[in-house]
Structures are given as structure tokens and as C-alpha cells.
């Protein structure tokens, strides 16, 4: 048995395993989109179908729905691996754990975040979102949803060993989600006034880069604490 170190092999193994599992239990992919759709269709029913009002509120509704639907799947991110012992095997592997974690978070985003980004143009029609704001909404979601996955994974890693960690995780993670929400909705607001919103996008991008670099290290430490 010869060992051959290949970081790509590790990344693709973890990434494709999570995707394969998600496609076998389709609920994991369908649930977040369904939740997103339900929230978006309920709002016009609850507050009245006035087009101006809906268009004004659309960015906020879309973002809050996206944020909550990302949180739906977070609980599951490390839970199965924790319970069947895969997490121990990943820690005992000679590869760096942050790389494994990066692959898992990337898979989580592809399963929960990416479908939302792709479906937003369709769902935005339901809320009468202006076309000028649509591009901004999609761009902020594209930068913001991976950020939500990374931040959320820190909370998921810390609480994976607890019996009812879901509520604690929400409490830990929500305060950290607020800056993302503020900058994202501010970008969309600015865009609907036909002003440049590249500043807010740049901040979201910067936060995402910091998260990609720093979050996997934090998540690895959190997982090691949970396993011990």
C-alpha cells in the first residue's frame, strides 16, 4: 500500500461524497428551495398584492428567506459524519482537516446556496422586483450565500456533539449573519435607486475571502473540540 499525497483527491472525495448523499436523499436539496418558495409566496398574501409595496420589500424578503433556508441544512452538515464516526476518520487522516472542511462547506453551498441563486430570477417575479435590482440581488446572493455557509459551519461544528444543538447554533450564528444581511440589502436598495453599488459588493467579497481563508481553520478546531 503506497501512499500518494494529493490534496485534490481528498477535496474531490469529500465533495463528491456529500453531493452523492444529497442526491440520494433528495429532500436535502428540495427542502431549502421549497422553504424559500413558500416564504416568498406567503408574503404577498399576507401583506397584500400592491406592486409598489412588494417591489420595495422584495430585497429584504428574498434575503431573509435565503438566510433562513441556508440555516435549515446547517444542522445536518456534520451530524451524520459525527454519529457514524467518519469525522474521527477524517481527523485521523494525514491530510489537513481545514481542507476537508473546505470541501464539505463547498458541497453544502452547492446543495443549498447555489439553487437559491439560480432560482432567484424566477422567484423575483413573484415579488415584482425591478429588473435593475434583480442583477444586484443575484450578485449579492452569489457572494453572500457561500459566506453564510462558512459562518454557519463554525456554529454547526461547535454544536455537532450536543443533543439539541440546533437552537444554540442559531443563537451563535445569527449575530454573525447580520453584517452580511445589512450589506447585501443595502447593495440592492442602492441599485434600485440606479446608483453604483460596487462598494457593498466589494465589502461582501472581502468578507467572503476572509471567510474562505479563516473559517476552515476555525471549523476544524470546533470539530476537534466536539469530537474529544
Amino acid at each position: 500500500m503506497v501512499k500518494q499525497h494529493s490534496y485534490w483527491q481528498l477535496f474531490s472525495a469529500v465533495f463528491s461524497k456529500d453531493l452523492k448523499l444529497a442526491f440520494r436523499q433528495r429532500a436535502e436539496i428540495v427542502n431549502p428551495i421549497l422553504f424559500f418558495l413558500i416564504v416568498i409566496t406567503l408574503f404577498p398574501l399576507a401583506i397584500g398584492p400592491e406592486p409598489g409595496l412588494l417591489a420595495r420589500m422584495a430585497p429584504g424578503i428574498i434575503w431573509v428567506a435565503a438566510l433562513l433556508s441556508t440555516m435549515l441544512g446547517l444542522d445536518k452538515l456534520f451530524r451524520d459524519d459525527y454519529h457514524d464516526g467518519t469525522l474521527e476518520q477524517l481527523i485521523a487522516s494525514s491530510y489537513p482537516l481545514p481542507l476537508t472542511v473546505l470541501a464539505k462547506v463547498a458541497a453544502h453551498w452547492v446543495i443549498t446556496g447555489l439553487p437559491l441563486v439560480l432560482m432567484t430570477p424566477v422567484f423575483a417575479l413573484l415579488l415584482n422586483l425591478e429588473s435593475s435590482a434583480l442583477l444586484a440581488t443575484v450578485l449579492t446572493l452569489l457572494l453572500g450565500t457561500p459566506l453564510l455557509s462558512f459562518i454557519g459551519a463554525i456554529g454547526a461544528g461547535l454544536t455537532v456533539g450536543l443533543q439539541k444543538g440546533g437552537i444554540l447554533m442559531s443563537l451563535l450564528v445569527l449575530p454573525l449573519y447580520i453584517p452580511v444581511l445589512i450589506f447585501a440589502t443595502s447593495a440592492i436598495d442602492t441599485s434600485s435607486m440606479e446608483l453604483a453599488y460596487s462598494g457593498q459588493l466589494a465589502i461582501l467579497g472581502a468578507m467572503l475571502i476572509v471567510a474562505i481563508i479563516a473559517a476552515p481553520i476555525a471549523i476544524s478546531s470546533a470539530l476537534k473540540v466536539s469530537v474529544s
Binding site: K17, L21, P96
Partner: protein, 177 residues
């Protein structure tokens, strides 16, 4: 080396400390005279750990589980795995999700790793659980091979080892209130 002792004596806790998953309150674990907390990556190269929770995903098939384990440990996953699966009695079941298999067969899916690694130190927590008699004997044959190749095994078990190991050491932990 066999770790013995009644339920609750701390066998599993000790194994987890030696494997580097938990920290000891006092003291340090050394592997080849080096602290495993400082040189964990190098230690992990030489370590194979199979605990109570075996790390087998029940949604995946036996073959997928083995291939995944090979990949995350940097082994070649494209090799022909069928001869090994046949040897351990899983042939014909390799494409069935592991949750459909019996407890003993699920355990075998985890134990395939013993034939597929180059680690020197094996840490096995109750490896014989759920295995039938022929499985236990077969596993002990593999232990002998590993020991003859210069490897070391640290295990806990409540069953008596049927094969005679000439240099077997037993450490007994006592239950303290």
C-alpha cells in the same frame, strides 16, 4: 497489546487519548519519542483507528465506503477491491447500501481497511463485536500477519483471543468510583 477491564473502566477513553482525539488531563502521548500533539500529521500517517463508531456511512455502498476511506487517507482508490471484498465475505453485497446489511457485515465493511493500509500502529476498539466465529478467526490471522511485518496492535476486547500470540501483553484497567 490488549487492554482489559470492566465496563466503564475507561478503555475507550484511553484509546481515544492515544489516538489523539481527546486530551489527557495529565501527561503526554509519545510516538517514536515525539509528542503526538505536536507531530500529529506524521503520527496519523502511521495510525489506523477503528472505534465503536466505525466511520461507515450507511447510505453508501460497501464499495463506496471503502473507496472513500482510501481516498481520504491518500491510498490508491482505483485498485481492484473485489479480491479483498471476496476474502472478507462481502462479495455480491458490494453495491447494496450498507444500511441493508447485517451488523456483522457492516463491521466487516469497516474491517476491510485492515487489509488496505500501511500504518504501523492499529488501534482497535472492540473489533470482534458482531463478528461470527470464522470472522474472528480470520481477523486474528490478519493480526498475526501484521505483527510479523513489524506492526503493533492495541485493542480492547471482551472475547478471549483464540489464536496464541507469543508476545501478547495485557494491561488491565480497574474501575474506580
Amino acid at each position: 497489546m490488549q487492554l482489559a477491564g470492566p465496563n466503564g473502566a475507561g478503555k475507550t477513553s484511553l484509546l481515544r487519548i492515544i489516538a489523539g482525539f481527546a486530551m489527557a488531563d495529565e501527561g503526554d502521548v509519545l510516538f517514536q519519542d515525539r509528542s503526538i500533539t505536536k507531530y500529529y500529521d506524521e503520527y496519523a500517517q502511521e495510525l489506523l483507528f477503528i472505534g465503536h463508531k466505525t466511520g461507515v456511512n450507511t447510505q453508501l455502498t460497501a464499495l463506496e465506503n471503502v473507496a472513500f476511506w482510501l481516498k481520504i487517507n491518500g491510498y490508491d482508490s482505483k485498485q481492484d477491491l473485489y479480491p479483498i471484498l471476496a476474502k472478507i465475505g462481502l462479495v455480491g453485497l458490494e453495491d447494496v447500501p450498507v444500511r441493508m446489511l447485517s451488523a456483522g457485515q457492516q463491521r466487516r465493511v469497516a474491517l476491510v481497511r485492515l487489509w488496505l493500509n500501511s500504518a504501523k500502529l492499529w488501534i482497535l476498539d472492540e473489533p470482534f463485536t458482531a463478528l461470527d466465529k470464522s470472522g474472528v478467526a480470520f481477523l486474528q490471522e490478519r493480526f498475526v500477519e501484521h505483527l510479523n511485518a513489524g506492526g503493533a496492535i492495541l485493542l480492547t476486547t471482551h472475547q478471549d483471543l483464540t489464536t496464541h500470540f507469543s508476545d501478547l501483553q495485557t494491561v488491565t484497567l480497574e474501575y474506580r468510583h
